[in-house]
Amino acid sequence: MADASRASLAATALLMLFAVAPAVAQTSASAGCELHVWPSEGMNTVLQTAFDNLYTGYMTPGGTTPLQRVGGESAPAHTARAKPEEPLDPAAQTKALSAMPLATMLGLTDYRIVLHDTPLDSRTIRTVKARYFASDAPCYADLVVSDLVYSRVYAHGRDLKTFLRFRVFGTGAAPTKSFGTWVQTKLDLFSLDPPRRDEAALLELSSAFAANLETFSQLLAKKP
């Protein structure tokens, strides 16, 4: 085998290691149980203006129109995928998650927390029913920040929405418990349009993310 090929294989192996290696093992635990946590790809955007459905032709000022009359070819999408320069990128989420007592919040007090810094792709989240991480821990759980959405809504203001998915596994292949829901926290300072990203605004955004995790944990606690 040529040296270049060998080196290439070694680098590939190294890359794969980086791809699956957890970023931080947050705490040590006694029972060998693990809670794996993944951030989302970043902050998506949703806008809802007063005229959205007028632009698309779904509605007139007086009421709805039949779909056949839709003519709003130039109506903007008003949904956008995460951009790298936006705050709450995967690194910022991981940092915020590492500061939270996740095990306690999720009722998994003897679990070792493993934070991953590379987000899972949506297909994996959607289709993989087994453990996302090939761990042979006898008890395993995963928490995925599936979506983070900055939302600005006509007559309602701005908020940060978060969709979280949580699963608990025993020794079997299927989860023994799963729960996924949307939670949101109002934003008074942080804004993308017009942009406001001073220290106070960014702190508010980070706090909203933490508040969403807290709300999620409270909803989870109510589940039988």
Binding site: A7, S8, A10, A11, T12, L14, L15, N44, V46, L47, Q48, A50, D52, N53, T56, Y58, M59, T60, P61, G62, G63, T64, L67, V70, E73, S74, A75, P76, A77, H78, T79, R81, D121, S122, R123, R126, S146, D147, V149, S151, V153, Y154, A155, H156, K161, F163, R165, S178, F179, G180, T181, W182, V183, Q184, L219, K223
Partner: protein, 221 residues
């Protein structure tokens, strides 16, 4: 230090290769045995319209704007580009929209700009395949109306090109079906409701494809 630099260079090279491979489908699809290609694009635009007893209008829009924004966020999550393309690819497209056997399906992960959908009359990819079609998801639209209930509607567009690169046949229409789970109630488990959006998206395409086949048969295509 030299070793580290060499490894970093290799990693960068591999990353470039991986990126190049990811886009290879868009750039130069390999010809299928039949020489036919179907290029598919997902929708960019998600809309939600909730109307109450006021029957729509600006006041109704204001009252339901918060709910509609949440719905849009959930549509964009459950039906993101890979999900739409996976759902279409999981169906028997050759039978559903009457394609030549062996037609190669070419995915385009990046949605087309919605406003260019009807303006551009040439091929949306660089493919020079002699037998070439496009299937474009134009709009994903959730509607809740006081009388009709909840439904997901999807606008699809099929374009078949001739040898001279002109559109020989075009069919654009909605498929729509009712929803039982979506939107989930606040704080409740939302996963089944989001999965329902994908299954109804597929049903919408089947409905659209049925109408497209009927239209094609009428034109003896």
């Amino acid at each position: 230090m030299m070793k580290l630099r060499k490894t970093m260079t290799l990693m960068a090279g591999l990353a470039s290769l991986a990126a190049a491979n990811a886009y290879a489908q868009d750039a130069a699809p390999a010809a299928a045995p039949s020489g036919c290609e179907l290029h598919i694009w997902p929708a960019e635009r998600m809309s939600s319209m909730t109307t109450g007893l006021l029957g729509g209008g600006l006041l109704d829009a204001a009252l339901h704007a918060g709910k509609d924004a949440s719905n849009k966020a959930q549509l964009a999550s459950a039906l993101d580009s890979p999900s739409q393309l996976d759902a279409l690819e999981a169906m028997d497209l050759s039978t559903l929209i009457t394609l030549q056997p062996g037609t190669k399906i070419v995915r385009h992960e990046q949605p087309l700009e919605r406003k260019t959908m009807n303006k551009v009359k040439t091929r949306r990819s660089d493919s020079q395949a002699p037998c070439y079609s496009e299937l474009i998801v134009a709009d994903v639209f959730y509607q809740k109306a006081a009388i009709y209930g909840r439904s997901l509607r999807t606008l699809f567009m099929l374009r078949k090109f001739d040898h001279s690169q002109k559109i020989a046949y075009e069919y654009k229409a909605w498929g729509g079906n009712g929803l039982k789970l979506f939107p989930p109630k606040e704080g409740e488990d939302a996963i089944a409701a989001l999965d329902e959006l994908v299954s109804v998206f597929k049903k919408n395409f089947e409905e659209y494809a049925h109408n497209a086949r009927t239209a094609m048969a009428a034109k003896k295509l």
